[in-house]
Amino acid sequence: MSKDKKTPKKTEKTEQKVEKTAKRAVIMQGNEAVAKGALAAGCDFFAGYPITPSTEVAEILANELPKIGGTFMQMEDEIASICAIIGASLAGAKSLTATSGPGFSLMQEAIGFAKITETPTVVVNVQRMGPSTGMPTSPAQGDIMQSRWGSHGDAPAIVLYPDSVKEAFQLTIRAFNLAEKYRSLVVLLLDEVLGHMREAVTLPDLSTVRVINRIKPTVPSQWYKHYDENQKYLSPIASFGDGYRFHVTGLTHDDHGFPTNKPNEAAKMMERLNKKIKHNIRDLVQIETESMGDAKVAVFAAGIMGRASKEAVRMARAEGLKVGLLRPLTIWPFPDDAVTKMLKDVDAVVVPELNQGQLFHEMERLVRERKDGSLHRLNRNDGTVITPAEILSKIKEVYNG
């Protein structure tokens, strides 16, 4: 992208050609892959506020969006940023913001607003060490629970978590697709080390990228319901200016969108929010497994720790140990079924995380319910990562235990 900025038009054209024909690998940063993924998904509105280590996403989109008729806004703070992208989405935009922990915390109230109003939006949180200002350029996985429970009230979340630059590209597209399909706010969690890591990636031909757009209503305006209970989660969604003149409120509302205090209507709205996630777990949850077939010990890890764990599993296999990996690409909704099966199939599970045990907490819930498997935490919370060798030594420790 920085290349595009400096080079004249000629080079830009040839570069596009190369991408289309030869699909050559390019060196790319995680944050850059997010920006490219957003553009590939049809993102045409970004509002954000500078914060390390996410800023490159904003910088790239500031450069690219005006070129395609899209809009980039640098707002006065993170609260304004998320409110602006929700507003833009209500007007029909595919909108994005990118931030890190402190900004993500500021956004929580409006994240709840996007959820209750079922407004498609994507929020990227490139996690850094916390709490508070913490260590802005150091990795940590402290926002796993915040991404699930951060906003007040009890609403479900969709949270995706890539482990590589290429997957950051793919999951950004998927985040937009899920947002549009399920009329939901979708969070993409990145690790600081992934946001800033450069690696060789071969991006797919953009014409092969599957892009989902929200369904537009076709009914006459007097029949339109902004939350159509007959169509469940996939109900069509009008935009401001389409001629439907609907009402949007953060108050608990009926299916037209008008505020209500009636318990039966409130229950119906909450059921709708939960059902659209619960009934579509298979579509929403993505996992990756490696060498799980005959595994005696499994490693369960997400994001950059999933990547380190994959290496640890390969090292263990090279030593003849029967070890496998389960890595969730979707962390919320939590992959209950896959984890439950894993807990039944193996003797022990190691859960390496850059926090005090947030995914581990969910694993404990499943163990309590199913009463099999044995869990071993491996945590670090000092701004550095856990190395594959360290994961391997933990694997060995529990292997014969």
């Binding site: 509002a47 707002m75 703070d77 940023s81 833009a88 009402h247």
Partner: protein, 279 residues
């Protein structure tokens, strides 16, 4: 000023859906809503093309009652939501309904920055000098010395001059009047909607049930009379010595300038690339 019959106003209301409204007897919010509808009717705007955005508070309940595209957002953030809508669909008329607490306390940051950008929003700020919806706590616009449930011994805070705040932040159109001066209010709202840039109309409102009661301002008619007797047009104020103006509500248009508007500036930026491709 064209007279608009009451029946015409009904056409603009969602009277079959969300009435009766939540406002207390004697509240000025209905007068302001009437002035907004009359101004819009005068301008013959297409309703499909109007978005009314609000935050949280008594005045922010307004959008649910009117038949436009309506967004009742979260506390203090109406202008931030409106910014997203206006930037994505610059052709739409975006009207922000906010209160003194919503716009200048929790939403102060968004208020000054939208003014600074000169984004084409029409902000109608209903200033009732108090947080009414939560039961009467003091706001940045509660006059010094006045009582609220959280200033039981009198307010020690100096209060904002909201119009000066907007002008200082860069707003290109700023006007103030009171709910008593309903025709003037309608005129100012009409001018604000027509103005290409950030416009603020501060409507001084009466909250007889909470603010009035706490501060012994009398009943609703007494508070209306106070608006009449205790306000002066800006031109008259300019001729008077400062001590005679102090404590009065100054009515009028404080600033009305044509300056580069934000969505237009962004369009110029986007168009640079369109022409390049065409070359």
């Amino acid at each position: 000023m064209a007279k608009i019959p009451q029946r015409k106003i009904h056409d603009y209301l969602r009277h079959d859906k969300k009435f009766p409204h939540v406002w207390c007897p004697g509240c000025s919010n209905g007068i302001v809503l009437g002035a907004i509808i009359r101004a819009i009717d005068e301008l013959k705007l297409n309703r499909d093309n109007i978005v009314m955005v609000s935050g949280i508070g008594c005045s922010s309940r307004m959008p649910v009652y009117v038949d436009f595209n309506t967004l009742h957002s979260i506390h203090g953030r109406a202008i931030a939501f409106a910014t997203g809508i206006k930037m994505y669909k610059p052709g739409m008329k975006v009207i922000v309904i906010t209160g003194d607490g919503d716009a200048t306390a929790i939403g102060g940051n968004h208020f000054i920055h939208a003014a600074r950008r000169n984004l084409d929003l029409t902000v109608i700020l209903l200033n009732n000098s108090i947080y009414g919806m939560t039961g009467g706590q003091y706001s940045p616009a509660t006059p010094h010395g006045d009582k609220a449930t959280t200033t039981p011994y009198g307010n020690i805070d100096p209060d904002f001059d909201i119009c000066k705040l907007a002008i200082g932040a860069g707003a290109s159109h700023v006007a103030r009047t009171t709910a008593f001066h309903a025709i003037e209010l309608q005129k100012y709202i009409k001018e604000a909607i027509e103005h290409p840039g950030f416009s603020l109309v501060e409507a001084i409102c009466a909250c007889p049930v909470i603010y009035g009661k706490l501060n012994k301002k009398g009943d609703a008619p007494a508070m209306m009379r106070n608006m009449r007797d205790n306000s002066i047009p800006i031109k008259a104020a300019e001729k008077l010595p400062a001590d005679q103006v102090a404590g009065k509500i100054i009515r009028g248009t404080f600033i009305q300038e044509i300056r580069p508007e934000y969505t237009a500036a962004y369009k110029v930026l986007q168009d640079k690339f369109v022409t390049k491709e065409g070359e």
